[in-house]
């Protein structure tokens, strides 16, 4: 029972990471119809920048928040390159983000080297239901939950958020009303950057990251997002949790090396199983 609880909890924290990254995919895709391959890259930026800020003796809390903001700015830069030029088709944009992720890997290795890095997190553990759970994991779950709620409020209740949704829903009417779709796209990328950065900041302390972490993180996030058809943030959260918890259970009962396999299989299964509803989703 103890073991199961631990698997579930660590699954939730990993799932939260995937859900955050997945939400980034969803935000960008909903507003620009582009799939942003750099979502994993942004998570790595978040973790590495947070590590560096902490090593400059910037206090906890401030360092992480700053890292998230900086990653948001990086997302904005990526936006300029990807959708800054008018008339770039979505597939080309995807390949541009691929190029940006390769470029970023070079930056990672140049500045931070090749070895995995884990910034300092919260120490200690709390006993919940008889199992000892690392405080950092609890923090991750808590912060992620807050982030999702804020995201929901942003898109559902703020004028800017509604404007962004409108730009995606009917670009023609949005243009008539004065909404600048490109600008909305930039904001979407910035938000996605912050989401990815947050994912990296909270995960890195117990799951060291390096230049090669971007791909598995992107795939995990994409898998979560596909659960929600690349458009529903709440289903993305569900997808992330399923992926995270499922992966941990597989790792626990079948051995760690099958965790990646489980995630990849889930991604393929979801895409293939949902292909009918996904194409309906796209047609909307």
């Amino acid at each position: 029972m103890n073991a199961l609880l631990i698997y579930v909890v660590s699954g939730i924290t990993i799932g939260a990471t995937y859900a955050l990254i997945g939400s980034g995919f969803v935000v960008v895709h909903r507003v620009t119809h582009v799939v942003n391959f750099t979502q994993g890259t942004l998570a790595v930026f978040g973790g590495l920048i947070s590590y560096s800020l902490l090593s400059f003796s910037i206090p906890h809390g401030l360092a992480e928040a700053l890292a998230v903001v900086l990653t948001g700015l990086i997302g904005l830069v990526f936006a300029f390159v990807t959708i800054g030029k008018k008339g770039t088709p979505p597939l080309t944009a995807l390949l541009i983000t691929l190029g940006l992720s390769i470029l970023s890997e070079g930056i990672f290795v140049t500045i931070w080297g090749q070895s995995p890095i884990a910034p300092e997190g919260l120490d200690g553990a709390t006993i919940i239901l008889g199992a000892s759970i690392e405080n950092q994991r609890l923090l991750t779950a808590g912060i992620s939950a807050v982030a999702f709620i804020l995201l929901g409020i942003f898109f559902g209740r703020t004028y800017l958020g509604k404007g962004m949704t409108a730009a995606a829903s009917n670009p023609r009417a949005a243009a008539l009303v004065g909404i600048d779709s490109r600008r909305m796209g930039f904001i979407a990328f910035a938000i996605a950057g912050m989401l990815g950065g947050l994912a990296g900041v909270v995960t890195a302390p117990f799951s060291p990251i390096s230049f090669s972490s971007d791909l598995p993180l992107a795939l995990g996030g994409f898998a979560a997002a596909v659960f929600g058809g690349l458009s529903s943030p709440w289903l993305t959260v569900v997808g992330g949790l399923v992926l995270g918890i499922g992966g941990q259970l597989v790792a626990g009962y079948f051995g760690g090396s099958y965790q990646t396999v489980a995630a990849l299989v889930m991604l393929l299964v979801v895409m293939i199983a949902r292909h009918k509803s996904l194409s309906a989703e796209e047609a909307k």
């Binding site: 509604k162 409108a166 829903s169 023609r172 009417a173 949005a174 008539l176 909404i179």
Partner: protein
């Protein structure tokens, strides 16, 4: 209020609008009629600033807002949200004034725009355009796909808007009868060029014009009988 001088609009190598000049005075309600593909929507979109003009000038004395062809709702958003988004460019985002003008909309304010009927959506589209507080209203194909009774209601509303509030309106319409009844003055567009303009009554009475561009006198008389 609105002045188009020798406007030319191109899409790639095709010329959609070939040297069109139109003027609308403040407080007027003017029609722009013509068959499908004549270039009416291009002109309206150019006035709204969403497509570029290859040559010629467009001057608007103030701000314009468009009621687009096909309503163009933000389908998954509520009527209230659709209206508020109409005020994107201006400070006042409160739809209270619109609800006063169009009480029916107030009753539907929380419904998703995509679930409304065509006529209701058209009302939302008009309301949304009005939210921007425009000096010039561009109405693109008001009657498209709507039942005559509904169109009559909307037409009355717009006429009222023009008569009592002095809203300048440019009405783009395929339904020539409707356009001539609502507007005292009209331009006839065919294949990107203005082929006739002047008082609606004069235009309607010209048999050659009617036959060539306006669907014929018989057809027009038929429509009169049905109304």
């Amino acid at each position: 209020m609105l002045n188009l001088e020798d406007v030319v609009i191109r899409y790639g190598f095709a010329t959609a609008v070939d040297g069109v000049s139109i003027s609308v005075e403040k407080g007027e309600m003017v029609a722009l009629v013509g068959p499908n593909g004549a270039g009416k929507s291009s002109i309206v979109n150019a006035i709204s600033g969403v497509i570029p003009v290859a040559s010629g000038t467009i001057t608007v004395d103030g701000a314009s807002a468009q009621v687009p062809e096909g309503r163009q709702m933000f389908a998954n958003m509520s009527v209230d949200d659709n209206l508020r988004l109409g005020a994107w460019r201006v400070k006042d985002r409160n739809p209270a004034a619109i609800y006063e003008l169009l009480p029916d909309l107030a009753r539907m304010k929380d419904q998703k725009a995509g679930t409304l009927s065509g006529g209701q959506q058209q009302m939302v589209a008009v309301g949304r355009a009005l939210m921007a507080g425009p000096d010039l209203l561009l109405v693109d194909e008001l009657s498209l796909g709507l039942a005559p009774l509904i169109v009559a209601d909307l037409a009355n509303y717009l006429t009222e808007l023009n008569a009592s509030r002095g809203m300048t309106i440019l009405l783009i319409e395929q339904e020539v009868d409707l356009a001539f009844r609502m507007c005292a003055r009209a331009y006839v567009l065919e294949a990107g060029r203005i082929v006739a303009s002047g008082a609606s009554a004069t235009l309607a009475a010209d048999p050659q014009l009617s036959a060539a561009y306006l669907g014929g006198i018989e057809a027009s008389a038929d429509r009169k009988r049905l109304k």
